[in-house]
Amino acid sequence: MADSIFYIIAGVITASALMAVMLRNLFHCALFLVVALFGVSGVFLYLNVEFLAAVQVLIYVGAVTILIIFGIMLTRNVMDEKTKVINNQFFFAIVVALFFIGIAFKAVSHSPFQGNNHPTVLAGQNNENLVMAPVSGPEEVKRTDVYALGSELLSTGKGFGYAFEFVSILLLSVLVGAIVVARKEPS
């Protein structure tokens, strides 16, 4: 039963994403985006990353969407309602998007990741044929909770510590830069 809910969530995501890119009223687009992001957060739950589901809601829905709505408010044009929303690349964009999805679908469907079997890649064994083995034998069960995530994120030796620091600096520069770019010139 849990699986069928996944498909419902997937449908919701798709529908609201489509709405988000096709509506005339920008504000409505933003709202549909919120719904889509919520849906994605739900999908994260199916992927056993509960922490990330929470992060998704916090950051994307909570911060990014608010930011977008602020942006929409600040750049409302008087002419907004009358102009066309879709530009003259409409046809090509649809073609390219469908094409992209189509070939990627094909790629995925030809891939060896069929079925429910989790391909098991054991350390030290050669891993050519991946369509395969049902789960059997001893496996290392890693800890997948927040603790493990945090230590992975912050350990400089085996983890992503350095990347973490760089991203922090990036956030700092973004903070400063956004303020500098968007402030009114002191006249």
């Binding site: 530009n87 690349q89 090509f92 964009a93 390219v96 094409f99 992209f100 070939i103 790629a107």
Partner: protein, 625 residues
């Protein structure tokens, strides 16, 4: 002395260089340098001749080569070949050249560009000697072209006269047409035998024919191409048209180049490559018929000409035809013998004509008359030369022409009786027009147009005449039957052929010559028959002959219609297609393409994003399908 024979062409080149660079303004000095060089060369040639005689007949071939241009694995050589043929030519060229240069001291005395004239003469002699002494095809081709150049320079010496400039161009261009064939022949030789050396080519060709490695007619094809050059250089039909026009040059030049030496180069070349020619009856037949036809054809034109030099020019063409005819029927020795005797009496005829022109300042024979009274030496020597060329014994021409006729009669070539009859008839014509010239110019009464004093030419001009007259009488005696010095010296093959003298033929040819003289006298001296009435009766034939069978007009028409027509097609092609489509088109296309490409720079970021995503999709497609 033979090992220094390479100096012989080098000395006149040095003379040319010295005169041009240093002695241009000193007339006497330039002449002195040139004449001195020529005298030295002549003595040198005599020395080489004597040295050659000391050798046994079977080893009379000395060839020396130096590397000229090395492009590995192939090498071009420059070399000297001393054998009876080249020594014969050496003697003829240097001697006649010396006499002509001495004669020119008087003839060109008042000319402004006296020094340049002598420099050109030296250049010509150097080229001719280089040609004659060469031992490989490349070198002979170089000499060939150089003599053509010298001829151009000398014929167009008075370049301010438009006729002279045109004649010089015509000489060079017509020669060039023959030279294309010659060059093709030389290239074919190089490609077939991988060498240009005469001796090596002869040996390889003989081997190849014995083994049957060549397709039938292949060697004949090569020789026919080579013969094209001879047709051009020796003014045979159909490339004879340049020689009469070349009479625009100074008369000593005509004597040297267009009588004795340059035009003989074609005959020399055929003789030199006789090993190749004689292998195939086709080549020999072609040579014989071209020669025979030319002999008759030119003699017929000479009958109706009024310019003294033109008559002599056509006479030269005709006599060269005789030489080619002789070579074609297998008469190697008679042909070369006639070349030698002809050099003597034709040079004499031209120099005599020059003497006459120098005195009366006109070329038209009808404006001259009775000149033997004031110009005794010129007249008598001219008479001797005329008798020689008409083949009257015991003068020089009789011996050589008679040997040629015997060779034709005895040959096995198809239609040789026709050729014999043509040769005999041409001998008649030769005597006729020669004595027509003599009677009109030297005998008879002087017309009223001649009002200034006519006097004999200075001794610098008459002494060469006398020397040549002496030779015109005696040179033939070298080959007196039984003595046969010439035949024993210059022959083709392992043994000389000594049986060329035929009493019956000799008698008939002398009779024919006398008949020609007599008939000519009836027309022009005793005036029993009237030449004007005769030409009126046969007006069409007379006009045909006088206008040289309209061949010049025909060539002119061909050039205008075909050559210029083709040229205009190519010009259209070049202007519109090459220039228009390729050159301008490239520019236009580039600009248009540029204009098109500019449209991709929309400045519109979403366009760029579209392109990026499409590219990714395309790459995926390309990789997987």
């Amino acid at each position: 002395m033979i090992q220094y024979s390479w100096l012989i062409p080098v000395l006149p080149v040095l003379a040319f260089a010295i005169i041009v660079l240093l002695a241009r303004n000193f007339k006497k000095l330039s002449a002195f340098i040139s004449v001195l060089t020529m005298a030295v060369c002549f003595l040198f040639s005599c020395g080489i001749f004597l040295d050659l005689l000391k050798l046994d007949p079977s080893v009379r071939l000395v060839s020396m080569s130096w590397s000229w241009l090395a492009v590995p694995p192939w090498e071009a050589h420059i070399g000297v070949l001393i054998d009876p043929l080249s020594v014969n030519m050496l003697l003829v060229v240097t001697f006649i050249s010396l006499l002509v240069q001495i004669y020119s001291l008087g003839y060109m005395h008042d000319d402004e560009r006296f020094s340049i004239y002598y420099s050109y003469l030296s250049l010509f002699t150097a080229s001719m000697l280089g040609l004659v002494l060469s031992n490989n095809f490349l070198q002979i081709f170089v000499g060939w072209e150089l003599v053509g150049l010298s001829s151009y320079l000398l014929v167009g010496f008075w370049y301010f006269k438009p006729e002279a400039a045109e004649a010089a161009k015509k000489a060079f261009i017509v020669n060039r047409i023959g030279d294309v064939g010659f060059l093709i022949g030389v290239v074919m030789i190089g490609m077939t035998f991988s060498t240009f050396d005469f001796a090596q080519v002869q040996d390889l060709a003989a081997q190849g024919i014995a083994n049957g490695t060549y397709r039938t007619g292949f060697i004949a094809l090569i020789t026919l191409f080579l013969f094209c050059g001879a047709i051009g250089k020796s003014a045979q039909f159909p490339l004879h048209v340049w020689l009469p026009d070349a009479m625009e040059g100074p008369t000593p030049v005509s004597a040297l180049i267009h009588a004795a030496t340059m035009v003989a180069a074609g005959v020399y070349m055929v003789a030199r490559t006789y090993a190749l020619f004689s292998t195939d009856p086709l080549s020999m037949t072609v040579v014989a018929y071209v020669g025979g036809f030319t002999a008759f054809f030119a003699a017929s034109i000479a009958l109706a000409q009024d310019d003294i030099k033109r008559i002599l020019a056509y006479s030269t063409v005709s006599q060269l035809g005789y030489m080619m005819l002789s070579l074609g029927v297998g008469g190697y020795t008679p042909g070369m013998f006639h070349l030698t005797t002809h050099a003597c009496f034709k040079a004499l005829l031209f120099l005599g004509a020059g003497s006459v022109i120098h005195a009366v300042h006109t070329n038209d024979i009808w404006k001259m008359g009775g000149l033997i009274r004031p110009m005794k030496i010129t007249g008598v020597t001219f008479l001797i030369a005329a008798l020689a060329i008409s083949g009257i014994p015991p003068f020089a021409g009789f011996w050589s022409k008679d040997e040629i006729l015997s060779a034709v009669q005895n040959s096995t070539i198809s239609g040789h009786n026709l050729l014999f009859a043509a040769g005999l008839f041409t001998a008649f014509l030769t005597a006729f027009y020669m004595f027509r010239l003599f009677f009109v110019v030297f005998l008879g009464t002087s017309p009223d147009a001649q009002d200034h004093e006519v006097h004999e030419s200075p001794w610098v001009m008459t002494v060469p005449l006398m020397i040549l007259a002496f030779l015109s009488i005696t040179v033939g005696w070298i080959n007196w039957p039984g003595f046969d010095a010439f035949s024993k010296f210059l022959y083709y093959g392992p043994q000389p052929r000594l049986e060329n003298f035929n009493g019956v033929t000799a008698f008939i040819s002398s009779l024919v010559g006398l008949f020609g003289i007599g008939l000519s006298g009836l027309f022009y001296y005793w005036k029993v028959f009237s030449a004007e009435k005769f030409s009126e009766m046969f007006k069409p034939i007379y006009l045909l002959l006088k206008n040289k069978y309209y061949i010049d007009e025909f060539y002119d028409w061909i050039i205008k219609k075909i050559v210029f027509g083709l040229a205009s097609i190519f010009s259209w092609f070049d202007k519109n297609i090459i220039d228009g489509i390729v050159v301008d088109g490239t520019g236009w296309t580039t600009r248009k393409l540029g204009g098109l490409l500019r449209l991709t720079q929309t400045g519109y970021v979403q366009n760029y994003a579209l392109v990026i995503f499409s590219a990714v999709a395309l790459i995926y497609l390309l990789i997987n399908f």
